[in-house]
């Protein structure tokens, strides 16, 4: 219990520092931290569906892109303030997940992964096609607005929210039921677990965060285009973050997001040419040397709970 109290105190301190940070940080510092928050949202959300149920989503950035376009259209064409537009971005992503989750989650193994990849490509094509609404390939500009600091808080709150939800799920029987799908779906069904419904719930939950993050990012950047919000690289990055940190744990995706983002920034600014190479090397190293991720290894070796 004292250990738990110490952990909570440390967590409160981190939250307090992050809350006060914009008051004394540079513009770059705020932007970089905002990005870390975004990656935490994306990685933790991917963990909810793929880390827990084992259904590997290879097109999760689709929800980010859907949220970005929904939010941006509402701001640019309907004049919505950015905060409700961001929430609407989350709703749009969840609705999208509802429509595609039903057929796609019947597919098992690599077929689901490929279907999700396809979905992302289809969405990108659709967005380019409906020029009237989306600006097509020319992109969509939002009215100028300097809201980086409020968006910093909104993104931070989203990251905290996704982490809290992950914690609540992983410590619940609902979360255990999701894990049985990963462990042995046939046995889970034979034990009376309605795996279809459980997968769908996890999928809907995993879409909300990326939708909100997409809409917030669109507002912050003031301009979006199909290639900027639907890149496959974003999906791969969130997957690598989760694998690096430890899938199926609460803090693994957070750790992965922080470490890999910082590493990426450092390498990117110093050695722009080796950046893609290094990222590829990290992927290979993680998969080969520690497929469980940092916290996954600790969890197994020291019998720690999944809430690490």
């Amino acid at each position: 219990m004292t250990r738990r109290r110490a952990a909570l105190a440390a967590l409160a301190a981190v939250v307090a520092v992050l809350a006060a940070y914009p008051a004394f940080a540079s513009g770059y510092g705020v932007r970089a931290t905002l990005q870390v928050f975004m990656w935490i949202v994306l990685a933790s959300s991917w963990n909810l569906i793929s880390g827990l149920t084992g259904y590997v989503s290879f097109g999760h950035v689709a929800f980010f892109g859907a949220g970005a376009y929904a939010g941006a259209i509402l701001v640019a064409k309907a004049g919505w303030p950015w905060l409700p537009a961001a929430l609407a971005g989350g709703v749009a992503a969840v609705l999208l997940a509802l429509v595609i989750g039903y057929p796609c989650l019947r597919l098992r193994g690599p077929y689901f992964a490929i279907a999700m990849l396809g979905l992302n490509e289809v969405l990108r094509a659709l967005v380019s096609y409906f020029e009237g609404l989306t600006g097509g390939g020319n992109g969509l500009s939002l009215p100028t607005l300097d809201a980086t600091i409020p968006i910093y808080y909104a993104m931070g709150a989203s990251a905290a929210m996704v982490t809290l939800v992950t914690h609540a799920i992983i410590t619940s029987r609902f979360g255990l039921r999701l894990m049985t799908i990963r462990e042995d779906e046939v046995a889970a069904e034979a034990m009376g677990i309605d795996t279809g419904r459980h997968k769908l719930y996890a999928f809907l939950l995993s879409a909300a965060g990326p939708g909100i993050a997409g809409a917030l990012t669109a507002r912050d950047q003031g301009y979006i285009e199909p290639i900027s919000v639907f890149p496959l690289a974003t999906t791969i990055t969130m997957i690598v973050m989760v694998l690096f940190g430890g899938k199926g744990t609460v803090w693994g995706p957070v750790l992965g997001a922080v470490v890999l983002f910082v590493a990426q920034e450092v390498v990117w600014t110093r050695y722009p040419y080796v950046h893609p190479l290094l990222f590829g090397a990290i992927i290979v190293a993680v998969v080969l040397l520690m497929p469980r991720g940092v916290l996954g290894i600790l969890q197994i070796r020291y019998r720690l709970p999944r809430t690490i």
């Binding site: 029987r173 255990l176 039921r177 894990m179 049985t180 990963r182 462990e183 042995d184 046939v186 046995a187 889970a188 069904e189 034979a190 034990m191 009376g192 677990i193 309605d194 795996t195 279809g196 199926g248 019998r303």
Partner: protein
């Protein structure tokens, strides 16, 4: 006549050219232990899979307590009170022993925990409750799978070779548990190769050969049935 707990009518399942279950019909009454035997590949596991919805049947009907269940999803059939174990162990390897039991329950968590700990004690796994199921020995996993079925308190229990790989002392406890379940009104259908187990436990035995039911009756009678002897030992 009371409604049978399980009633199968002309159940059929084929895999390509192999007819794994060939027009099998059987009835199980409440509060009895039944055996299902037959040579390797005679269709015992496939019959279980068709009853529980894991495999889709090609024909025939399955009723549980009078209600049609063929065509339902496996979890729906399970929720109608059918529990099973698998011949090839299917515990949830990265869930702890305790979690393996808790995860299949609904409703009050405290009650489920008490029951789970009780069952773990029964199979002498209470000291390993926080161990990952995948790290348990083969026999321990087998026992865990057995008590996992009991967590849901099913009315019909299908056991696919529960004795294989379980040590002698625990085996006797396990067989006692099966008898107790019967005494509490549960119906058990048991696939088992160990004839001693079958003889000591089952009131009625069904014999499959090449997917066909070739005999049915008390174990003593079955043993002397010519078709059964032929199926096992050839001509």
């Amino acid at each position: 006549m009371t409604t049978p707990v399980l009633e199968i009518e002309r159940l059929r399942k084929r895999f390509g050219g192999v007819i794994a279950v060939d027009d099998v019909s059987l009835r199980l009454e409440a509060g009895r232990i039944y055996g299902l035997i037959g040579p390797n590949g005679s269709g015992k596991t496939t019959l279980f899979n068709c009853i529980t919805g894991v495999e889709r049947r090609d024909g025939g009907r399955v009723r549980v307590s009078g209600e049609r269940v063929d065509g339902l999803r496996p979890w729906e059939i399970a929720q109608k009170g059918v529990g099973r174990t698998f011949q090839v162990i299917r515990v949830f390897p990265e869930l702890s022993a305790l979690e393996n039991l808790l995860v299949v329950t609904r409703g009050h968590l405290g009650g489920a925990r008490t029951r789970a700990l009780e069952l773990l004690r029964f199979v002498k796994l209470e000291g390993l409750r926080d161990e990952y199921a995948g790290n348990l020995s083969y026999g321990q996993q087998k026992l865990l799978e057995f008590v996992r079925v009991l967590m849901r308190d099913p009315t019909l229990i299908l056991l696919d070779e529960p004795a294989a790989g379980v040590n002698r002392t625990l085996l006797n406890d396990l067989l006692d548990a099966v008898r107790q379940l019967r005494d509490r009104g549960k119906t058990i259908l048991l696939v088992e190769h160990d004839m001693k187990v079958v003889m000591g436990l089952c009131e009625t035995v069904f014999v499959l050969d090449h997917g066909e039911k070739i005999a049915e009756g008390a174990p003593g009678i079955i043993q002397t049935d010519e078709r059964v002897i032929e199926a096992y030992f050839g001509r």
